[in-house]
Symmetry: C2
Subunit: 405 residues, 2 copies
């Protein structure tokens, strides 16, 4: 079925009846820092949010809106440069003010507005700089605005991250388009970073939420840069039915196709986050196979992905498989180390839990690549999981030793 | 009661009837790499081992000896430069050969020998280089040998780590002396690194095991350098009764005093590991107070201690309390962020979950110190925990990007 979707991971094409605009409101020292995403027709929305016990004000406001509005959404307002987290009641007021000004400008109920922030924690967000510009933003709305919006949501990112997918569902073309941001504080437990997906598919709120959770489990929940789960993580979707297809039914071939496209868009976006990981020089795909369950496979892959010793060995292009099996071992999942094989690309470096006499020059050749694939075969069951991460370099330290000041 | 024990964290004084020796056996490229610790009289032993699912061969052999011998021990043989982990059946044979040669040289049953290794994973240990030198090691045994033994167990450490404590128990002087190693792959889940404690107290094996676990919980299990739990972690003790005191009874004042001394020795050793953390420029004490349980306090402290973003901010001497509260938030422990206060030393930087208008110059002064204390007051209960960690610097990356080759 994979051929059904045509993916483009460098350009963002607007699904029908969606518009966007961006502005420089002075939240960041310079550049675009506010994005407005809008559907010209009412649509259904769904979202997954951070599992961090400390939730930013916009996360709380958005969660409430989705519940109160029964999943009806029509716009998303997002700022970068300030996370509006740990900002107390003034922070809640700021998030509400952003939503209210957006609702007023677009003339829709406030419950249909999702509000998101990303940036430094613990600094009061000057919401008036945003609310003062909402009429301008509204005037700027256009179907060509998604690219600027994708740039406006960035923080330490070095590049915008977008993906578009197109397929025919029930005989009509349907589009899914997404943008995301994030390069540090990346360790998804439920959702991570900010990700926004728009589609002109027609799908009700409960099924949309379930579809998003399925896609998230195999994309954003399978990446890590540094193991830090942010206070602001949000992955949200709006589906406006602009394609004209009939409503997607639960457990239909159309739903299966939709989830496949959504998963592929979310995987592309999540992988772009890892590729732009702070200081990263490698993009690493970790496959754990032969586990007793998919959850256990994912836990082991996550443990390897978060090990500073594995990540520094990758930065040093060192075939140190001992650190890989060690990190697998402390994942809290039972397995028999004597059955484990480890591969760098297609080169076996460990068999039956012990060393293989491999050619160091072959290993070096594989490790010099920008994209590296590690496979850990447990021989302990029949379940697999894939996880994506990056290496840990001195550049990560430089970026993060002095981010706030 | 704390005044009862006199601690010395720079010298190791032998408890009665203990001897040690060290040798350069060519396991490391140069320098001392094998240590032998010996009690001239039979004694009771106890140990806690790594919880990693991948256990090194010496860990398996030592666990078996403790069980088969009913806790009777008389010597420990330790090598650095090779972890003898992930080395399959030849690795098991190597660990057994080390133990057997030691038993033969000292003329004691093999079950009374604890065997430990530390160093690179996945490379076969040339045990014959060690077994060939056991008669020399035996001839070198002396009560002055502990200092050399403490140097022989080191790997990436820059300095030996020892501690001696003395107190009067039941009217007689009792000594506890310990040595440890470790600077990377430090994230104790049960025990971490290698730690060896000798005492001339008289105490049976069950009570000795319980006392060691109590001490470990508040020392080795409260430190982290990089969040990686090793395959070889072992903390072991021998108690030979050489002090002449009567056997320590369970729940007696003498046991309480013994556990206190043992805890303080283990805390000193564990803290020395953190101070020598790979690339570390700061020693950081994290106190979490006002938690709903000690376990929850410790989990939050551990989460903060393992956050790369907190650790890089400390390296950058940046008062980034937002990262601290964020890391507390993903510990998996419920609390109310609106009640949280955070202090750097005695300077409040966050109150009621929000920013305090503190003087940056005061914060800089505190963060410029080598020793930093962070306090997170949750206001959510009455339990506390203390944890020790270090910062994350570019030097850590340099050390670990090319350790194996």
């Amino acid at each position: 079925m994979s051929e059904s979707w045509t993916l483009n991971s460098t350009e963002i094409f607007p699904p029908k009846d969606f518009q966007a605009a961006a502005a420089a409101c002075g939240i960041k020292p310079s550049g675009l820092d506010v994005a407005l995403l809008y559907s010209t027709r009412p649509c259904w929305g769904a979202a997954v949010f951070t599992t961090n016990a400390v939730k930013a004000a916009p996360v709380e406001v958005s969660q409430r809106h989705l519940v109160e509005g029964g999943g009806a959404l029509q716009a998303m307002i997002i700022n970068s440069g300030n996370a509006n987290a740990c900002t107390g009641e003034p922070g809640m007021a700021a998030a509400r003010a952003m939503a209210e000004a957006t609702a007023r400008a677009l003339n829709v109920p406030v419950q249909r507005i999702l509000v998101c922030s990303t940036g430094v924690i613990g600094v009061l967000l000057p919401a008036d700089r945003i609310t003062a510009r909402l009429d301008d933003l509204k005037l700027g709305l256009s179907s060509e605005g998604l690219g600027a919006a994708a740039r406006a949501i960035l923080t330490t990112d070095t590049t915008p991250k977008v993906c578009s997918a197109e397929a025919s569902i029930n005989g009509r073309p349907v589009r899914i388009a997404g943008m995301t941001k994030g390069a540090g504080m990346i360790h998804p437990q439920m959702a991570t970073t900010l990700g926004f997906v728009l589609t002109d598919a027609a799908i009700g709120p409960a099924l949309l939420q379930r579809s998003l959770e399925q896609a998230c489990r195999l994309s954003y929940n399978r990446i890590s840069v540094d193991g830090d789960t942010s206070t602001n993580d949000t992955l949200a979707i709006m589906a406006n039915g602009g394609s004209g297809i009939p409503d997607i039914e639960p457990d239909s071939p159309a739903q299966e196709l939709f989830v496949e496209g959504l998963t592929r868009v979310c995987q592309s976006l999540a992988q772009q986050v890892v590729r732009d990981g702070e200081g990263a020089s490698k993009f690493v795909t970790i496959r754990v196979t032969g586990a007793s369950s998919e959850e256990n496979a994912a836990r082991i892959a996550r443990s390897i992905a978060n090990s500073p010793l594995v990540k520094t060995a990758l930065a040093g292009e060192d075939a140190n498989w001992g650190r890989i099996i060690c990190a697998a071992g402390y994942a809290g999942v039972p397995f028999d180390s004597r059955r484990v094989s480890i591969y760098l690309g297609d080169l076996a470096v460990c068999r039956e839990g012990g060393a293989v006499d491999f050619e160091e020059s072959r290993a070096s050749e594989i490790l010099r690549q920008r994209d590296i694939e590690l496979t850990v075969h447990l021989n302990f069951g029949s379940s697999d999981a894939t996880f994506w991460t990056c290496d840990l370099t001195t550049e990560y330290i430089h970026i993060n030793a002095d981010y706030r000041t």
